[in-house]
Amino acid sequence: MLIENLKHTLSKGVARLAGVVGAAMLLLVMSGAAHAEVPGESQFVFNTFSFLVHGFLVMWMAAGFSMLEAGLVRTKNTAMQCLKNVALFSIASIMYYLIGYNLMYSGVDGGFMGSFSLWGQDDSAAAAGKFVGDGAVGYSAASDFFFQLVFVATAASIVSGTVAERVKLWAFLAFTVVLTGIIYPIQGSWQWGGGWLSEMGFADFAGSTLVHSVGGWAALTGAIIIGARKGKYGADGTVKPMPGANLPLATLGTFILWLGWFGFNGGSQLAMGSAADAIAISNIYINTNIAAAGGVLAAIVLTQLIYKKVDLTMALNGALAGLVSITAGPDTPSLGLSAIIGAVGGVLVVVFVPLLDKLKIDDVVGAIPVHLVAGIWGTMAVPLSNADASFYTQAVGVVSIGIFVIVTSAILWFVLKMVMGGVRVSPEEEEQGLDMAECGLEAYPEFRGSQTI
């Protein structure tokens, strides 16, 4: 039974081969004993429950991104940032149903995309009494849909943070429609849908590349095409900081994301109906946690050394960078290696945030260092602990997905520019703040804040 279950997991996601290896090795050790004690229907319930619990944790990350971004923008753009995050989650929920899921998972067969069709639940195997093993799915269709859906929203949230404070609401929402309905699912099909990348042996357990760097590339493309905020970079190369207005909110957002990440990585085991799976998920939890811790401590120590002060926003980004870094392979490394992988992520953030400013790429919340740079690092670090992954294949995945996302999202931004008469608000509206300009209300109407003093 356990073997069947594992087979199933393997067949569903050759894509996640790397991730399963840990469990598989454990299984080999176990296979001598009479251990197959979890009945099939129990396994089905366990697997489904895992998707639901881990799925709601990932759903909760939407709140995390909202709070992080609402805390890191200036007051005058805060309501807009909240609005964008609520809206994008809603759009993702609907687009993934209309197009995304089947484009990502249905009939990919080693190719470049699935099919264009509405998703609908098929629980016929379970209804026929086949819960796990041959011909069975192993979990309820809707629980899997739920879990995959909440991942999509993550990618869109990343973009929203980078292009904050200047992008037009409706341009951003239109971008989100295509990102969550088409761009994300197509590249996702290459790996998790069982497409060409997964056949090559690419390893990306929970999405350092498939989710985070995708969001990061789209954000980078957007930041370049849309341009920096007015006044951010002086002609003489000076950088004008525009401090986030509410750091406790940003801290809350980071903790929410940290919590949600247990769902993100843990749930990506895709099963929980056996001791082997339970062990694997547990290991993923602690690796995920220590990677975040490593990211925080690296960022703290480094900012202390460089600036003689500790930058809270860097510590928060450090946590997230640690989490992104471990996401490609949270199942195979030891605790110690996980801490180091996360710490490197934290270092990358401290280095890349000012570097982007040098390049005049204006990333309001630091999403590019966190999700793109650490996402690449995390993907390339998989072979350190996973013998089935190779640096070459990892690089192929990173580059091919990078090119795909850059090209498609660049085209998309340009089309939107033409269709909507620009994707950026007017300089006056930017000065005034998007809250007044596009929402007609203020996030904190009673707290007078001035952006200038």
Binding site: G440, R448, S450, Q451, I453
Partner: protein, 112 residues
């Protein structure tokens, strides 16, 4: 001694401050105020009800200076803070009888 009080648009503050430094202005006191004038506030909507926000955010500068500097400072503020659009603000001048520096107890023009 005179006290120059100027009400300007918030984002002009930094520019004005920089323009005044070469004139010998070594200190000023700034506060956030709301202004009401020819420039009308903006309509906000809240839960289906539209309403006017009549007061707009401005920044008020208070600068104590020796008499001979007044003209150039007023002019510089007027030029620098100008955008030509309604709501640019005002500069007022009035007479100061005394000024004391708290740290040293110096008084008069020396205190500025």
């Amino acid at each position: 001694m005179k006290l120059i009080m100027a009400v300007i648009k918030p984002f002009k503050l930094e520019e004005v401050r920089e323009a005044l430094t070469p004139l010998g202005v070594e200190g000023m006191t700034v506060s956030e105020v709301k202004g009401f004038g020819r420039q009308k506030g903006q309509a906000e909507i809240y839960r289906g009800a539209e309403y006017m926000v009549n007061f707009l955010p401005k920044v008020k500068l208070e600068i104590a200076v020796k008499d001979d500097l007044v003209a150039s400072i007023v002019e510089t503020i007027q030029k620098t803070a100008q955008t030509g659009k309604i709501g640019d603000g005002k500069v007022f001048v009035y007479s100061l009888e005394q000024a004391v520096r708290i740290r040293t107890g110096e008084s008069g023009a020396d205190a500025l």
